[in-house]
């Protein structure tokens, strides 16, 4: 897969650290053979370069899934069946899968795919993620009601629930667990999943008290009431996320940080951890006090950790694991050409796109041109009077350096030195502030050809933002315009660059990774051939790229987005003004208004229309070049049943079983 959340290598900190190791070994080798001492460190250095940019594009905040199992993508059209050795049926009721490395499996702290997968087998909340779809199922709750206005959810807890050590579970446990996840001192990165709950973010940022958070438990009736700040039809999906699962209060209070050690751990889900070797493996067995234990069929689970795609594939091939992901690109191509039935390709709710910087480079304010409103909005701490003073000064003078701001009456040097980095006096060429140019660039790139001919056809070409994996959910989209070089040239000409003449050379940046490079080169070639404009491409290490993006120091940048909750809004809200992930500074008041309206709307049909209209505006303004919709690719042992594809990659292994062991319970 291609790249974002995990990590990358490059010239940044890693090299700093490596150079350091070189220096210290040299310094300490003293009079001994210096060269030899260096070689270990040098090997490391070389390797860091060789490996730079190895990363995986696993969505970080997957929540939940689609209604029906998403239709598998077509196999390669011209595949030829090659006979492979029949895979042996497993000899024990044991399922082993590959897993990426995870930061935490504490339900409150989980914030990436791998941790989510491991933790969600052990910790359960009110609802469960759908089995191969996005319809949530009952977990610890056995019923719920939603108020007319869509804001109040009341969950009723099952009777007789208990922890794996026999301690009974009550609604108070939920209140305690959710509060723990939201507590500022817990500092959970996934705390934003609770943001729809009334008062939650105020509590999280220490501005409100717990009493104002809309979470209430009634122990008598066994109900839990959640009040939302606004209607959120996707809230049930959020509740089925592992971040909303229970954490055992009595164990955490007794063992502190060590509560997740196999000897201390107490769970409420279908499996309990028996072995945890950090960065190596997790082994679990069935939890015999789980409320639905009869439905859990696989006896033992193993998660083998690896970051290498080749290793994952080899483990599958040699029978160590029954499910392997991710698989190297070239292996996927090979297996598809052999019509292999154990290779599964399904949509994954993430979209790959190239972001245009629609604002000023570096997000800076042009002192000579910015309006009063922009001055006030962009310069931190500027008073209204000072803004007026700048306007008045400008009438007679021209700023030739940001430092000259201190010549303006009423502004002192101290203030100027504080805001200097936000200022500029001459515009850098900003072609992508013009929507016509953005549109022209988008139209000039043949994405179908890119996917089919360059990337091996295992993704879905995209013309718009919202992933089409939502089609099964009853959501509609506004398709963008297909490849049309004629129209692109006409648009570019009308924007003042006929035949690309005079177009400034701008850079496309991406984080170091082979697939990104291939795409960047393709875009570069297409723009040259179809529009006559030249762009340069540049790669950098992941965190360095993020730094550029956070500071708006780019023209076009590789990006992607994975949904936080299964709803088109999760894609669209990113591009509202001032959103922390709106790196390209796209702003359109109409767009913001529609997103807000869609958020408040309770009628699904009207809401759907609003979302489509929002996306139409997005397509018209074209703040990004959509490239493709992600797919999830994995190998699955043919004898393993009940492991269904899920558009958010959520899998509860309690649903899986082998036919040969089906009678086990």
């Amino acid at each position: 897969m291609d790249g974002q959340t995990s990590s990358l290598t490059g010239p940044g900190a890693s090299c700093g650290a490596h150079i350091l190791s070189v220096l210290c070994s040299a310094a300490m080798c003293g009079r001994l053979r210096r060269t030899v001492c260096l070689c270990g460190a040098l090997a490391t250095l070389l390797w860091a370069h060789a490996c730079s940019g190895e990363t995986r594009d696993l969505p970080r905040n997957l929540l939940e899934a689609s209604t029906t199992p998403p239709a598998p993508l077509p196999q390669g059209t011209d595949c030829k069946v090659v006979r492979v050795k029949e895979r042996k049926a497993p000899s024990s009721n044991h399922l082993a899968i590959t897993e990426g490395s995870f930061a935490s499996i504490d339900p409150a702290l989980v914030h990436e795919t791998a941790g989510n997968m491991v933790a969600s087998q052990m910790f359960e909340g009110l609802l469960l993620a759908g089995h191969g779809n996005l319809k949530t199922r009952y977990g610890h709750a056995d019923s719920y009601t939603i108020s007319e206005d869509g804001k109040i959810y009341t969950f009723h807890l099952r009777e007789g629930l208990e922890w794996s050590d026999g301690t009974p579970i009550t609604t108070d446990d939920f209140v305690w667990s959710w509060r723990r996840a939201l507590e500022p001192t817990t500092a959970a990165q996934a705390a934003f999943l609770f943001q729809d709950i009334k008062g939650a973010m105020a509590f999280h940022s220490s501005k409100g008290t717990w009493d104002d958070v809309g979470i209430r438990a009634d122990r008598e009736t066994g109900t839990l009431t959640v009040e939302l700040a606004h209607p959120a039809p996707y809230f049930l999906s959020l509740v089925s996320e592992v971040n909303f699962a229970l954490a055992p209060r009595h164990v955490i209070e007794a063992h502190g940080d060590k509560w997740l050690k196999p000897k201390n751990i107490v769970v409420n889900g279908p499996y309990i951890m028996v072995v945890h070797r950090n960065h190596d493996r997790v082994v679990m067995k069935r939890n015999e006090s789980y409320w639905d234990r009869k439905a859990v069929r696989i006896e033992k689970l193993s998660f083998f950790e690896t970051e290498s795609e080749t290793t994952a594939y080899q483990w599958y091939k040699t029978g160590l694991v029954q499910i392997a992901t991710p698989i190297p690109n070239e292996t996927v191509t090979k297996l598809r050409s052999q019509c292999r039935q154990d290779l599964i390709l399904t949509p994954n709710l993430c979209t790959y796109y190239l972001t245009f910087n629609t604002g000023n480079y570096g997000g800076k304010v042009n002192l000579n041109r910015a309006s009063r409103k922009t001055l006030l909005a962009k310069i931190k701490g500027l008073s209204e009077g000072q803004a007026d003073a700048i306007i008045a000064y400008r009438a007679e003078n021209t700023f030739s350096a940001p430092g000259e701001l201190k010549n303006v009456p009423g502004i002192d040097g101290g203030f100027v030195s504080k805001v200097r980095h936000q200022l500029m006096v001459k515009d850098r060429p900003q072609p992508f502030q013009n929507a016509k140019i953005r549109k022209a660039v988008d139209l000039a790139i043949d994405k179908e050809a890119l996917i089919a001919q360059v990337l091996g056809g295992d993704r879905i070409a995209a013309t718009h933002l919202v992933h089409e994996g939502f089609a099964d959910e009853g959501f509609s989209f506004a398709p963008g315009s297909p490849f049309d070089p004629e129209k692109a040239r006409a648009l570019l000409a009308s924007a003042g660059y006929p035949g690309g003449k005079g177009f400034p050379t701008v850079e496309l940046v991406y984080n170091t990774y082979e697939t990104h490079k291939v795409i960047a080169e393709y875009v570069q070639r297409q723009l040259k051939e179809n529009l006559g404009i030249r762009i340069t491409i540049g790669n950098m290490e992941w965190k360095s790229l993020l730094d550029k993006m956070y500071n708006h120091e780019f023209y076009i940048s590789r990006s992607s987005w994975c949904v936080d909750y299964p709803d088109p809004l999760s894609f669209l809200e990113v591009f509202t003004s001032g959103h922390e992930n709106n790196y390209g500074s796209y702003e359109n008041p109409e767009y913001d208004r529609l997103v807000k309206q869609a958020r408040e709307e309770t009628d699904p049909a009207v809401r759907n229309q609003l979302l489509v209209r929002t996306e139409e505006i997005f397509n018209r303004d074209q703040p990004v070049i959509p490239v493709y919709f992600y797919t999830h690719i994995y190998l699955k042992h043919p004898a393993l049943k009940g492991y269904l594809p899920h558009v958010m990659d959520r899998h509860l292994l309690r649903d899986s079983y082998y036919e040969s062991f089906a009678q086990d319970r």
């Binding site: 890693s14 001994l32 053979r33 390797w47 990165q189 705390a191 950090n278």
Partner: protein
């Protein structure tokens, strides 16, 4: 002697202090922070996370707090794995790296000394050229190339050995060889050089003249003299095997400590990187002191001052 050791230890601690200070600031020069993700965290969430790890404090206070912690061997919490401390990670994963390092070291010694003796006892012959060509290849092929080739051959084609991981002795063969072979090549060249010198000495001629069988001459007289350069190099070799296992651990999915170094750097996980830097530096300082002390025993001409 005792005074010398104390002096070296004091200097060692100063070196460590310098390394820690430099690393502390160099790491923070790298663009991007530990909690910058492609999904930017909402400001209030990020504020809490940074407060938890003290990243909201001024840099010099962070530095002083960190140094105070290091003095008490407390490296703090890993940014990436919030429920683990750096010390836990080092304690759990360094023994694995150490084990791998020891096996690789043994591989290097056995093969290196053996090959060096074979080559050095009959210099200029076909077997000398053959062994030394092998050694040259061993030095030139980096383990990022050797590892995957060995895996492909022994694990994928032949299926004799498992593909990666660190469980049974079968798992340990390939990584140990991959890591050890380069050093085996170095050792063999040193050993051969030692042999060439010894073989021409008078006492060897005397031994031969006495009519001793060649195998006995080799065992009793030649090796003793020839092995000295090899012994000299053992300390630095062991240190660089231990600190240079990153690639091998990656290739063979060995859950050693070096992965924390690389990933820590990529993730801007400052405490984790610092932990490994300190561990490796302390190891190097310590091994160098040991080697220098060992010198005095091996070679009376070296005097400590």
């Amino acid at each position: 002697m005792g005074g010398y050791i104390i002096k070296r230890l004091v200097v060692g601690v100063l070196v460590l202090f310098a390394i820690m200070s430099i690393s502390f600031f160099i790491m923070r020069l790298a663009p991007g922070g530990p909690f910058d993700e492609d999904k930017a965290l909402p400001p209030e969430v990020k504020a809490n996370v940074e407060a938890k790890f003290g990243l909201n404090k001024p840099l010099y206070i962070q530095y002083m707090l960190a140094m105070k912690g290091y003095a008490q061997l407390d490296f703090g919490r890993s940014f990436k794995e919030p429920d683990r401390t750096v010390m836990t990670n080092l304690k759990e994963h360094f023994p694995i790296s150490l084990e791998l390092g020891l096996y690789a070291f043994m591989v290097a010694l056995l093969i290196g000394i053996g090959a060096g003796m074979i080559a050095g006892s009959k210099p200029g012959t076909a077997r000398d050229h053959l062994t030394m060509s092998g050694a040259m290849i061993g030095i030139s092929v980096p383990n990022i190339v050797l590892g995957p080739i060995l895996l492909l051959f022994f694990a994928t084609y032949l299926g004799w050995l498992p593909y990666g991981k660190w469980d049974s002795w079968q798992h340990k063969i390939l990584p140990s060889f991959t890591l050890g072979l380069v050093y085996a090549a170095y050792f063999s060249r040193l050993m051969r050089g030692g042999m060439l010198e010894v073989i021409r000495t008078d006492y060897m001629r005397t031994a031969r003249a006495k009519g001793l069988p060649p195998s006995l001459i080799l065992r009793r007289h030649a090796i003793r003299g020839a092995i000295l350069p090899t012994v000299t190099y053992m300390g630095p070799a062991f240190a660089s095997i231990l600190t240079g296992s990153v690639v091998v651990e990656r290739i063979f999915s060995v859950p050693g400590v070096s992965d924390f170094f690389v990933k820590g750097a990529l993730n801007r996980d400052y405490p984790m990187v610092m932990g490994v830097v300190v561990l490796y530096s302390a190891l190097l300082v310590f091994l160098n002191i040991c080697v220098d002390i060992a010198y005095t025993y091996l070679d009376p001409r070296v005097r400590l001052r």
